[in-house]
Amino acid sequence: MTYLATHPGRVAALLGEHVVLVAVSLAIALAIALPLGVLAARNPRAGSVILGLAGVLYTVPSLALLAILVAVLGLGKVTAIVALVVYAQMILIRAIVAALRGIDPALIDSARGLGFTARQTLLRVEFPAGLPVMLGGVRVAAVSLVALATVAAWINAGGLGVLLFEGISTNNPQKIFAGALAAAVLAIAADVALRGAERTVRT
């Protein structure tokens, strides 16, 4: 507890960096996963390619992926964000596909029959109806990224991982504890907040 008590400002600053890292990655990941997920849900052939590729990327060990990305993009936040975005794809695309494929066909039939365009059906019927399942995916992705982002410190991207790596190299368990505790609290907070959001959108 001592490190946390003596350096609350530093822990808070690193926590802030961590939140930004995860939030930016998640936002970019969603912007990519949404169109890919819609395409994958609509077109089974494209779906198997997209999910297959995302699955392969997901199985690459995180350190290996970071090492490869560092070789291409160098050290720093951008590289870390790219890695987090790649990891989130599998989780998000799979949730979006499950959400869209799980929608009651009667909803889509009546939307089309009443004169919704394909786009209106997607935005006004399919997305809202699939939102709880999609938010479930966002929640799992957010919690995973909070954990994964600690590794980003290894490539100078900052965040709570800094405390873990410093603690390991200087043999300071208090620092490790402070970093781990802050990351765990952040993960739980993200989980609780997104569960709440899921509940409010569930009809």
Binding site: D104, A106, L107, D109, S110, A111, R112, G113, L114, G115, F116, T117, Q120, R124, V125, P128, A129, L131, V201, T203
Partner: protein
């Protein structure tokens, strides 16, 4: 428009129904060895209540869905009020045709009022007009607007949900209403009351209704004209009396049952004030 039967009901509701002609309509689904619908010729007069009756898989739903272009015929044409549906944009076409299905398909994230308002909103009506229309429709289907406006679909019984489905389909005053087994999922008592409601609504609005069912009693009770289908063909088309008196073949005879006199009782059952 070349409508022959534009009638305006006393309360200003609706402007009658459109004439729907099916000319040589055939539908063959990809990879299917046999056509779902074979060369159907059928003229439905404006304001007529037509029931497509037949066993499941006979092509009646497919035929219905060619009218609003949810299914495109492989050959033949559908003409509404003299205009071929293929000449019209499918989205614009569907906004002018009511559509009710067995599973109802109310949007779960919308309230009852928002569900009913869907098509007027797509058509860009202003809010005051939509609000007034929603209340008018809820009254038409006998759901108290104050009680039901803000309910979510999950708070409705099966019968109430289907009433809202009917209100939603009628919202923009369509001149054709398509109903695909709309009451098949509710219990017999609720079904009877929904049948009474739709008969009353039809009497008030004189909308052309094309109604699909496999339930003979329902067909006899509601139809001005019954179109019996089997294996994609129209086997017989006629008034309930004609179907009962002179079944065209063995299939129709079996369908309506061995005892036409018993069936006739259905016709004599008073539909509010038939």
């Amino acid at each position: 428009m070349t409508s022959s039967s534009r009638t305006v009901s006393p309360n200003g509701e609706g402007d009658g129904g459109a004439r729907v002609e099916l000319r040589g309509v055939a539908v063959r689904y990809p990879n299917a060895t046999i056509a779902a619908v074979h060369d159907v010729d059928l003229t439905i007069e404006g304001g007529e209540f037509t029931v497509l009756l037949g066993p499941s898989g006979c092509g009646k739903s497919t035929l219905l869905r060619t009218i609003n272009r949810l299914v495109e015929p492989t050959s033949g044409t559908v003409v509404i009020d003299g205009v071929g549906v293929r000449e019209r944009d499918p989205v614009e076409l569907r906004r002018g045709i009511g559509y009710v299905i067995q599973a109802v398909g109310l949007f779960p994230h919308y309230t009852v009022a928002e569900n009913v308002a869907v098509v007027p909103k797509l058509l860009g009506w202003d809010k005051a007009r939509i609000d007034a229309r929603v209340d008018e429709l809820l009254k038409l289907i006998r759901l108290d607007p104050a009680t039901y406006r803000n309910r979510k679909p999950r708070e409705l019984s099966g019968g109430e949900a289907q009433r809202v489905g009917v209100a939603r389909a009628l919202a923009a005053r369509p001149r054709v209403l398509l109903m695909d087994e709309p009451f098949a999922a509710v219990d017999a008592i609720v079904r009877a009351s929904l049948q009474d409601e739709i008969a009353r609504v039809h009497r008030e609005l004189r909308t052309t209704i094309v109604f699909v069912t496999h339930d003979v009693d329902e067909a006899l009770r509601l139809a001005d004209r019954i179109v019996v289908m089997n294996s994609g063909h129209v086997v017989q088309a006629g008034s309930p009396d004609e179907i009962l008196e002179h079944p065209a073949d063995e299939f129709v005879r079996d369908l309506v049952g061995v005892d036409p006199e018993t069936r006739r009782l259905v016709l004599e059952r008073p539909l509010i004030e038939r």
